[in-house]
């Protein structure tokens, strides 16, 4: 799977409260989530984001609450992948489970509005604006399978178990 998009770049420790504030999480309507995504961190994000854009973070992206509404809100808003130097554990699992590709690249110098290509198969991120290539960290085989199925719901619908 190869994903290409323009970037929105944020710093370290972007917590899930800032991705989607707690007061908006109680809903099954994903558009409600997308309408408020990142509103405390970057109030202009919603008017700027285009379908297929990519979020780029520093270290510990998605720390804090276990709310799956955080990756859901990003995905519904049009985000096609999240690239970060590191991820908080629960966010990373949630993103894969709902079929939002995430990739960890330890060092990158991606800036706002760069054009970036994410190659999940080979675990590589290419900054098309600067032609720099970054190596991603490998994810466990089970996560690759879940992501290839489009998330944990289709995975378990198909296989019925983890073993």
């Amino acid at each position: 799977m190869i994903i290409t998009g323009k970037t929105h770049v944020y710093g370290d420790n972007i917590d899930t409260d800032r991705i989607i504030p707690g007061k908006y999480t109680k809903t099954l309507n994903l558009q409600d989530l997308a309408d408020h995504v990142l509103e405390d961190l970057d109030p202009e994000f919603r008017s700027r984001v285009k379908q297929g854009d990519i979020i780029v973070g520093g270290s510990n992206f998605g720390c804090g609450s276990s709310r799956e509404q955080a990756p859901l809100a990003l995905k519904k808003a049009g985000i096609s992948a999240v690239v970060a130097q590191s991820f908080a554990r629960i966010f990373f699992r949630n993103a894969i489970n709902i079929g939002l590709p995430v990739i960890e690249v330890k060092d990158h110098s991606i800036t706002m509005n760069d054009e970036v290509e994410v190659d999940l198969q080979n675990g590589q991120v290419t900054n098309l604006s600067t032609n720099e290539v970054y190596e991603g960290t490998q994810i466990p085989e089970v996560m690759v399978k879940i992501l290839n199925e489009g998330g944990l719901v289709p995975y378990l619908k198909e296989y019925k178990s983890y073993s």
């Binding site: 420790n13 917590d15 409260d17 800032r18 504030p21 707690g22 007061k23 999480t25 109680k26 809903t27 099954l28 405390d40 961190l41 270290s59 510990n60 720390c63 804090g64 609450s65 276990s66 709310r67 799956e68 509404q69 859901l72 590191s86 908080a88 554990r89 629960i90 699992r93 949630n94 489970n97 709902i98 466990p140 085989e141 089970v142 998330g151 944990l152 719901v153 378990l156 619908k157 019925k160 178990s161 983890y162 073993s163």
Partner: protein, 414 residues
């Protein structure tokens, strides 16, 4: 090679010997989800083709994050949960019964040595009684509801040895704030933390829960508090790490040197000695949450506020961690003492801590809170500032209308 506590518990549940960084498929002893996460869990479970949960005695739903419902949208999500619980014949704790983590421990739904998953990040709290418990998202939890299993990577462990004895007026909350400040918000990401040492042995279950609760504020996957000295109303087996177990890092702290601590805006690892924030004016004070809403916490606040009245410019809100805590505090006079001092009791639940309702601060206001997170906007308003501290510091600050070191207050009184 020896095993850490988490390697032992995962091995038992995977039916094979595992060590750190191995992937294991494990049998799960119990799961819980709240009104923030359960609606998505139920939907995912149904979308997976789920009809009956794998074991109706091992699934718990709790309505605590927005309870009672503040609006019709949330009311309808609560209805969805109640209907699912009825059809599935699973235990649901309704509004006011308590905060999920308090209820799981109080009602013995989780026990030492078990492997428990919760769709809430503070599920790591159950490490207070030696269980491996970790937070997951809604879809992961649905997967367990369907299969009774999940996959996980066995984390490496950090051993944190706590020597010495806490000074009078210094609480388990000050201790964990200090440690979060030392390790940082990603200081233990993906790791299991083992707390051990003489300072741990004398801690009550309430205090142990405060300690393990905030392990997630360092990114930890799980936390264990050495069960030496732990008293539970049933028999249990202690699990200890082997002498030759491999720890990725070891820390030693002397807790005798720790003062009241405070996390200043906007991150729980932004921890300072309280002296650095002293006299900051506050408009709202909150005691509650899965971190500090237990009977010990209310007692500490009552001791400070007995016969006194909070500052006229401050609202003090208290949410007991469960109905049982509330009843105990009613019967022993704590609720009366605190109410006479000007505190406002609200229904047991998470509302103010997660910014849902029942105490959202106004623009420019400073809040002192005995909770676990002070990210910008956490309590429902990005234009407010949240300071995290112990219940004693919150009560002393409510009394003076400004951030106050509770140890100096006590000296002034006696």
């Amino acid at each position: 090679m020896g095993q850490t506590i988490i390697e032992k518990i995962v091995s038992t549940h995977a039916n094979k010997q595992v060590h750190q960084n191995e992937i294991a498929i494990v049998n799960v002893d119990g799961v819980m989800a709240t009104d923030t996460t359960a609606p998505l869990t139920i939907k995912a479970f149904q979308d997976m083709g789920g009809e009956k949960v794998w074991d109706s005695k091992k699934v718990f739903l709790i309505i605590d994050h927005a309870a009672p419902a503040p609006n019709e949208r949330i009311a309808n999500l609560h209805t969805l949960m109640r209907e699912f619980a009825k059809v599935q014949n699973i235990k649901l704790y309704d509004i006011g019964e308590g905060i999920c983590h308090q209820l799981m421990v109080e009602n013995h739904h989780v026990k030492p040595g078990q492997l428990f998953l919760g769709a809430d990040s503070h599920t790591c709290t159950y490490g207070a009684l030696g269980a491996f418990a970790t937070g997951v998202g809604s879809t992961d939890l649905a997967g367990v509801m369907l299969t009774g299993q999940t996959w996980l990577k066995v984390p490496a462990s950090y051993k944190i040895t706590l020597n010495g004895k806490l000074q009078s007026g210094v609480a388990a909350k000050d201790l964990i704030l200090y440690i979060v400040g030392q390790l940082g918000i990603e200081g233990a990401t993906y790791k299991a933390i083992e707390f051990t040492g003489p300072a741990v042995d004398s801690l009550s279950l309430d205090e142990r829960m405060t300690l393990s609760n905030m392990a997630i504020e360092m990114g930890a996957k799980a936390c264990f508090v050495d069960t030496t000295g732990l008293e539970l109303p049933y028999d249990f087996n202690h699990i200890y790490g082997d002498d030759d177990a491999e720890y990725e890092k070891e820390y030693v702290f002397n807790v005798s040197q720790i003062n009241p601590e405070i996390a200043i805006p906007h991150s729980p690892d932004n921890v300072r000695d309280i002296a650095e924030a002293i006299d900051t004016p506050i408009q709202m004070a909150f005691i509650g949450s899965c971190t500090n809403g237990r009977l010990d916490d209310l007692h500490v606040a009552a001791e400070i506020l007995k016969g006194r009245r909070i500052h006229p410019d401050v609202r003090l809100i208290i949410a007991p961690a469960s109905q049982k805590v509330f009843l105990d505090a009613l019967r022993d006079g704590t609720v009366e003492t605190l109410t006479a001092a000007g505190a406002s009791f609200i229904s047991s639940g998470c509302g103010p801590c997660v910014g849902t309702h029942q105490g959202v601060p106004g623009n420019g206001e400073n809040v002192i809170s005995a909770t676990n997170r002070n990210f910008q906007g956490r309590m429902g308003n990005r234009h407010s500032n949240v300071y995290l501290a112990s219940p004693a510091t919150v009560a002393a600050s409510a009394l003076n209308g400004k951030i106050t070191d509770p140890t100096t207050l006590k000296e002034a009184v006696s």
